[in-house]
Each structure stands twice: as C-alpha cells, then as structure tokens.
C-alpha cells in the first residue's frame, strides 16, 4: 500500500479550536444587529382550505414590517427537497398556499422588529378555514374515495416517474427479477412478515436558522444553516422568480444536519422578506417548530416474504413497502427507492421482488434522514435473516455469511433501481464483509452466544448482529468541484463547494490536497460552500463528500502539483517528472531541493522563464463514479458494559421523535410533544422523564434476560414486569412479540432489546450508574456466558 504522509493520519480538525473557544461561526452569531425577526402562523388543522385571511389588524401592530401569505406572494409550484435538478421529488409545495395539509403547515409569516412583536402580530392574523376530511394512515390514504390531499392542478413530477396525487400516491417504484411467487411456493421454508418503523426527528442541536440581507447592489445574501447551499440558491431563485445571479448563499459553520437540512424550507421566506423590506431578516425555528414543521424520517410499513432452501440459500426475497410521506412528497421517491436498492443487493437471491410506494397523509412531512430509507428496510430484512436462520436451525452469522454478496459479484438490483430512473450496472469492487464478520464475531465472543433456550438464571446476556449496506453518491448525477491556488508563502487556498456541517469534510479535503502537493495540512486554507466564490457541489448528503468532493480535490491538487513540479524542474534544471514533492519542498533527482517558501529562492516566489506557471491555480470538477460501501455493525447488538454505547450515537438527542396522534378527538393529526425517544427507524418509546429511570431499570433487566425476552423462562414476576414495561414503552413491538401469529421465539424480543437500548438516550450520569449497577448484578450471576 502507498505510504501516506498526511492522509490516513490523525490530524486536528481544522476548525475545532475555533469552535472550542466559542468564536462567532454560526448563523445566529452572524446576523446583522438590526435584523427583523420572523414568526410564522402554523395551521391548527390537519386538512383545510383557507377561505379568507385578514392581516389588516396585524399589519398595524407595533414593529411589524411585512406579512406574507398566499394572497401576496407568487404561486410557484416546487419541491423543498434539496436534490439534484431536475428533482426526483414531486412539485407539490408553494411558498404559501390557500390550503393547509397538516397541523403545523405554514399559513402566513410576519417580520417585525422583535420576535415578541412578530409573535403578537401572528396572533392578530384572522383566518377562516373550511375544514376538510383528513387521513393519517398509509392504508386510509390509499383507499379508494380517500380525501385527496393534493388536488391542486399544478402538482406534477418534473421527471417521468409514477405519480398519482388523485389517489394520494406520492411515489412508486417497482422491480422484479425472476418469478418470486413460484420460488416462494417451491421453497423449503417460507416466511411472511410485516414490520413497521416509526417517525424520528433529526434533532440537530442547532435548529433550522436563516438570515438574509441585501448587499449594496441589491443582491440577496442568504446565510443559512444548510447541507445544500447550491440547491438553496436554485430553489430560492425558482420560488421568488428572480435570477440565480441575484442570490448568494453562504454556509457558515453548521450545528448538525443529519438530513434535516437537505431541505429548502425557510430560505425562500426569509429572502422574500429581505427583498420586500430591504432589511436584514432573521428566522430561527424554536425546538417545537423544529419537530413539527421541519422534516422527519418517513415511517415505513413493509411486508417481507422470503423463501429458503434446506441448504440455507435464499431462493426468493420479496419486499413490499410503503412510506408515510406526510403532507408533501419531499424525497418521497428516492427514500422508498433506497429502501430497496440499498438493502436488497446485500443478499444473493435467485428471485427478487420489490415494490416501494409512498402515500400522502395529513401528517408532518418526511424527508432525508441519515440512512435515507435503507434504515427502515434494514430493520425488517435483518430481523427476517435472524428468523430464517432460526427456522433452518442455522447460526445467523453463518446464514448471513453464506448469502451475502461478495467481491466481484453484481446484483440485478443495481441496474434496476436508480434514483428516479434506471440504475447503473455496478459490481462490488472490494468487499470485506466476510472478514468483517469474522473479526466482529471474534471480538464480541460470538462463540459464547449459545442457544437462548439453554440460558438460565435471572440475569442473562445476549449477543446479536446486524449487517447492512449503504451506497454513497448517486452515479452519473452527483458532482463536486474544487479550486486551488498557491500563495507567495507556499500556502494554498482550497475552495470547495463541499459542505462541512460538522462532519469534518474541510479537514479531510485539506488532508487530501496536502498529501497530493506534498505539504503540511496547516498550509491549506479551506473555504467551503459560498455560491459566489466556491465551485458547485451537490452538498453534504449521501455520505459522499470524502469520495466525491475528495476526488475533485485530489484531481485539482494533481494539476497544481504538476505546475509546481514544472517550476521546480526549471529552477533545478531537470525534467518535471523527476521532481518529487514532499515536506513542502520540490526534490530534484540529484538530492537538490527547493522549498515552496521560506527564502528568496523559494519556488512560490520564483520568477523564471517559464510562461504561465506562476499562477499555480487549477480548477477541477468531478462527476461521481459509483461507490458502494458494505459494512457490518457487529457491535450494535452486544449488550455489555460497552455494548449499548456505540449504538447510542445515532439516536442520541433531545426528545428524539414525536408521533402524530392519528384520528382521536379534536386534536387528531397534531404531533404530540411528549418526552418520547425514538430509535433510528425502529420503535418509539413514550414516557415522561419522571418515568425514565424506572423504565430503564426494567429495560435493563429485560436486557439481561438476553434473548429470552418476553418468552423468558425465568421467574413469572420478571416476565410480567418486563411485559408490562415493554407494553407501555413499546406498544407496537410488545404486541408483535406476543402475537400468536408471529411465533418468533428469540429474534423479535432480541431486536426489541437492541432497539430499546439504542433508543435509551438517558442523561449521562444516570445511564452510567444504572449500567454499572446492573453490570455488577449481571457479573454476580453465574450464567453470563
């Protein structure tokens, strides 16, 4: 392997000390002092037509500068999804509409001198609604005769994909390989299961926040907490009907996104206010608005059928799933498509069937969220794998190993499923899944796992595994670009469109550039994501920045390195290809060298007879190749002193999910704000903070009961207590686990426990103490192994 000097080494994250010293780096820190503040009027109804809206009184209130509503803004249909153009999401949204489609939909917005004045004016807006029947579940939404959520004539898809708003179908994608039904019949063992995953919210610690002002030329400068600055510029131009050149989008430091900020929601409103008032305008969501009126992970309902042969090979795999898109179709198609394309290829199966649909309902809106659809179906498919192994009497690890795709292989799914079009033929270039499983099994002590039925005693420990696959970058669609120039002192400016949202991409890209031109990483001055000065990049999504933008940086740095070598060669009178760049120097063939800077003879300042080389400037754009990552989360299910911890990182956060309460009382459709924690795409817990400690205790007992779960063989007392807690905390799951129709002795409770642990984002100290105490108890029990 190539020896690296800068990459593959640990370096200090280039912005981390500034962050640690609390420098003003976020949108809230950068807003002009005299900004106006925005507050929005949110719909109190799940589905209603706005008969009239009267802002006359509100407009007269003190401090109010401007009020926007459907009656005074252009009606431009668009999607809020920050995706490559033309977007694969339906055009079904307006800046403001004459209809509201969920509790928390935007009705009007006020800009005033202070947030309090804006809030008071919002209260003074008089709206007459005509309530319409609403739907809340996937099944109800797709029933014939269901209320139509998008009955406006403008709703359409910009690319030719299935879209039937008249029956609330926001998206549909399907594929078939071979005759699944026949293989299911012919299989030695057949399994047919349904799974459901719930809402979850991204919970970035910094909520959505935007500031906009006009510069001296009347251009709108939008400073925003976004993952997709270039998509923001395009969509703001589209919605406000002004040319792209009149907009500049700046991304400062971002307090986390996790997909939630791959959405262009607040920016057009704030930009419109800036244009109308000529003032700086600022809008920050409250934490409650963040939950209700931003985006969520799509809940998904799936039916999975699988057929296996006695020898353990999978002969049929069928996935029929439908996501609840909520009131708008942002990312509807691509998320559900990834539910198939990012998980089905992981397992070799002779026949494959996939149908993914997305239904409009009168609930908060789904969007991009880490994993992007793969998370949801991974939950179902992985539970199935455990069950299938169990039914065959096979070790689940061995069963997976046998059926997992390997290096050099391909899957028909790659070609069949793209994002809104056919996919791209791909084969697995390298895949260390087998090694990964082996290592994981060794580290975790898989051999000690044993049969759950044989475990005895009050406290038990279990080991589980999950395997999953992700893709990165969208082949032939995504792109990144970089510009690089050398300065007189041998430092380099690296301008990238790539969007560091806390991921560290600025540092990674600096490392790649430094490695390529042979300098230290601190010689790189990185500036990212400013639509005026940095080149285009799709933004921070699909885990693609290192691969995609990184390749652009590598290419641009190679061009600069070539120029440096040229000058170095001229200085040392040798051939450019004899030059070796490292340690901030150009080395010649005879051991001579010149430094990039530092003395008068340095390369960066050298004036020689070499035409055009003194620019040291290059630009490179990169269109993505296909990248596929497969990896194994072997630690995810290990319940031990450390076991619960790794999984916590993804689900941590404030009240992580909140679930709409469907169809009950006058509040139907309202998202209920409770202390509710929600697993990434698995199960949601609902409890008050006061209950948290006792539930955690019971859960940990449950955990130590290991795979026995709800069918525990130990004392009836424990069983009852666990069942009660489980039922209270996980209503859906508990009933699945107990249902006679789903005779799932070990895996369901097991998945439940993993999910539970993952979701237990207890406050630090308590979690620690409880875990410690319970581990001691577990250690005391003699049946740990």
């Amino acid at each position: 392997m190539k020896k690296f000097n800068v990459v593959a080494k640990s370096v200090r994250k280039i912005d981390s000390l500034s962050l640690a010293t609390g420098k003003p780096m976020f949108v809230a820190d950068l807003k002009p002092a005299d900004s106006l503040y925005v507050k929005a009027l949110w719909s109190p109804h799940a589905h209603a037509r706005i008969v009239s809206i009267d802002v006359s009184e509100a407009e007269k209130m003190p401090g109010v500068h401007c009020i926007l509503h459907h009656g005074n803004v252009p009606r431009v249909v668009h999607t809020t999804a920050g995706q490559g153009f033309p977007e694969p999401s339906p055009y079904d949204s307006f800046l403001f509409d004459n209809k509201v489609r969920f509790v928390g939909d935007r009705v009007a917005a006020v800009a005033a001198d202070t947030p309090e004045q804006a809030a008071a004016a919002v209260k003074a807006i008089k709206v007459v609604y005509e309530e319409l029947p609403a739907v809340f579940t996937i099944d109800d939404a797709l029933k014939p005769g269901a209320p139509v959520i998008h009955d406006e004539p403008e709703a359409h898809v910009p690319i030719p994909v299935p879209y039937e708003p008249q029956r609330n179908l926001a998206a549909r994608v399907a594929m078939d390989v071979g005759d699944v039904e026949a293989e299911l019949k012919a299989a030695d063992t057949m399994l047919d299961r349904e799974f459901y995953t719930d809402y979850a919210h991204h919970c970035p610690i910094e909520p959505h926040i935007v500031t906009a002002h006009l510069d001296v030329d009347g251009r709108v400068i939008v400073t925003t907490s976004t993952q997709v600055p270039f998509h923001v510029r395009r969509i703001v131009a589209q919605v406000l009907q002004i040319p792209v050149r009149r907009i500049r989008v700046v991304k400062p430091r971002i307090g986390g996104g996790f997909g939630g900020k791959q959405e262009v929601l607040l920016e057009p409103v704030v930009a419109m206010f800036a244009l109308r008032t000529g003032r700086a305008v600022h809008w920050k969501y409250t934490r409650e608005e963040e939950f209700v009126s931003s985006r969520t992970r799509h809940p998904e309902k799936m039916r999975i059928r699988a057929g296996v042969k006695k020898d353990g090979s999978i002969s049929a795999l069928a996935l029929d799933c439908c996501t609840n898109s909520g009131a708008y179709g942002a990312h509807a198609l691509t998320v559900v498509c990834n539910s198939g394309s990012k998980i089905l290829p992981l397992y070799r199966s002779k026949t494959i069937h996939f149908v993914g649909e997305s239904a409009y309902t009168n609930l908060p809106v789904g969007g991009a969220y880490r994993g992007y659809g793969a998370t949801q179906s991974t939950f179902g498919i992985d539970c199935m794998m455990d069950e299938l192994a169990e039914m065959l009497g096979m070790d689940p690890l061995e069963f997976r190993r046998m059926n997992t795709i390997r290096s050099g292989e391909t899957s028909p799914v790659f070609r069949a499923l793209g994002e809104g079009k056919a996919g791209v033929e791909q084969s697995i270039g390298s895949c260390e899944m087998e090694k990964c499983m082996k290592l994981g099994a060794r580290e975790i002590g898989w051999k000690k796992r044993g049969r759950w039925q044989d475990k005895k005693g009050r406290f038990r420990r279990g080991i589980g595994m999950a395997s999953l696959m992700q893709g990165s970058s969208i082949p032939e669609i995504d792109m990144g670009a970089a510009t690089m120039k050398m300065n007189d002192d041998g430092s380099f400016n690296l301008l990238v469109g790539a969007t560091d949202i806390g991921t560290g991409s600025d540092t990674i890209l600096a490392q790649i550039a430094a490695e390529t031109v042979g300098c230290d990483v601190d010689k790189l001055i990185v500036y990212s994501s400013d639509t005026d000065t940095t080149p285009f990049d799709v933004g921070a999504y699909a885990s693609s920045t290192t691969y995609l933008s990184g390749m652009a940086v590598k290419n641009v740095a190679e061009k600069v390195a070539k120029q440096i070598a040229g000058v170095g060669a001229a200085m040392m009178e040798c051939k450019p290809k004899e030059i070796d760049l490292r340690d901030n120097c150009a080395f010649g063939p005879d051991g001579k060298s010149v430094t990039f800077s530092g003395n008068r003879a340095a390369l960066a300042l050298w004036v020689g007879p070499v035409p055009n080389w003194r620019d040291f400037l290059a630009y490179h754009a990169q269109v993505a190749a296909a990248f596929l990552r497969t990896f194994l989360r072997s630690g995810g299910g290990h319940v031990d002193r450390q076991g619960a911890r790794p999984a916590l990182c993804r689900s941590g956060g404030l009240r992580h999910g909140s679930e709409p309460e469907a169809g009950r009382g006058p509040d139907r459709g309202r998202r209920v704000e409770r202390n509710q924690l929600c697993v990434d795409g698995a199960v949601s817990l609902q409890f008050t903070r006061a209950d948290a400690q006792s539930i955690l205790r019971a859960l940990q007992d449950h955990v130590h009961a290991g795979q026995a779960g709800a069918e525990d063989h130990s004392g009836p007392q424990l069983r009852k207590r666990v069942a009660r807690t489980a039922q209270r905390a996980f209503p859906k799951f508990a009933s699945t686990a107990r249902s006679p129709a789903s005779p799932t002795p070990s895996t369901m409770p097991w998945a439940f426990v993993c999910a539970a642990l993952r979701s237990c984002r207890m406050p630090f100290g308590k979690r620690f103490k409880n875990a410690r105490a319970d581990n001691k108890r577990a250690d005391a029990a003699d049946d740990i192994e």
Partner: protein, 153 residues
Amino acid sequence: MNIQFTLNGKLRTAEVEANTKLADLLRELGCASVKIGCNEGACGSCAVNVDGRLINSCLTYAGQVNGRTVETVEAIGSLDHPHPIQDALVEEGAIQCGYCMPGVILAAKALFDKNPSPTEEELAVALDGQLCRCTGYQKIESALRKLASEARS
C-alpha cells in the same frame, strides 16, 4: 431594571427587562459562545458558570445574576492559549459540529475546578445535562478521562 455583574472578569452593567433571559443578554453582550439549542433547559448548549456553578442560561433571568460572577467560554481560553480542557477535546477529535461544545467545556471546567482528577462517575454526572447529537459522547469522555488521569499522575 438595572443590573451589575462580573462577566468574564469585567464588571458590566445592563438595563434589562424582568423577563430578559440571561442567554439573550449574554449574546447581546457579545458572547457568541452561548448557544441556544432548545431554549427550554433540555440540551445544555447555553450553559454558563455563575459563581462557579453550571446553570442553563436559557432558563435563568438576567436579573438573577445581579451582583454575581458569570463565566463563558470566551474567558477560559483563546486560540493561542487554549484551556487544557479545550486542548484535550481538540486533540481527541471530540469536536464535530461544535455547537454543544461551549456547554460541554464549561460543564467540565466547573467540575475540574473543584476536582482536578474526577472519577469516571463524577465526570458522567457532571456532563449529565449536556446533549451532543454528533459525537456519541465517547470521544468527549475519553478526552476528559485522559485529562483527569494526567492530573492524578
């Protein structure tokens, strides 16, 4: 009402309303390190030290600090002379988006000031109220653990 308090070593006076939150006042006075993540006491990103005790400034009225001493991250370290806690977190790679960090750093400092070599458990309790969405906490913990064990040896 008029209040007077010591902010990062300097005596400050401010005219505040009865319902002005400390977090808003501090930000107005130029302390950009005071982050507001939830404005309801849940996340700890607005935490500051008042008379050496960690409090959530979004749940504190400005009037309550009259006559007291308030410390924010601005005062405890700079780019050239970072506080050992800041240095440890940077070195360990514990800072991702960094939005939660001022709170985490002040929580750690409130503890280390009293107890330079806290146990793991004491650390955990001190960081109880600080939510971080990015890191998964492991690196924050290990950075501070290292610092604590350095102090012991």
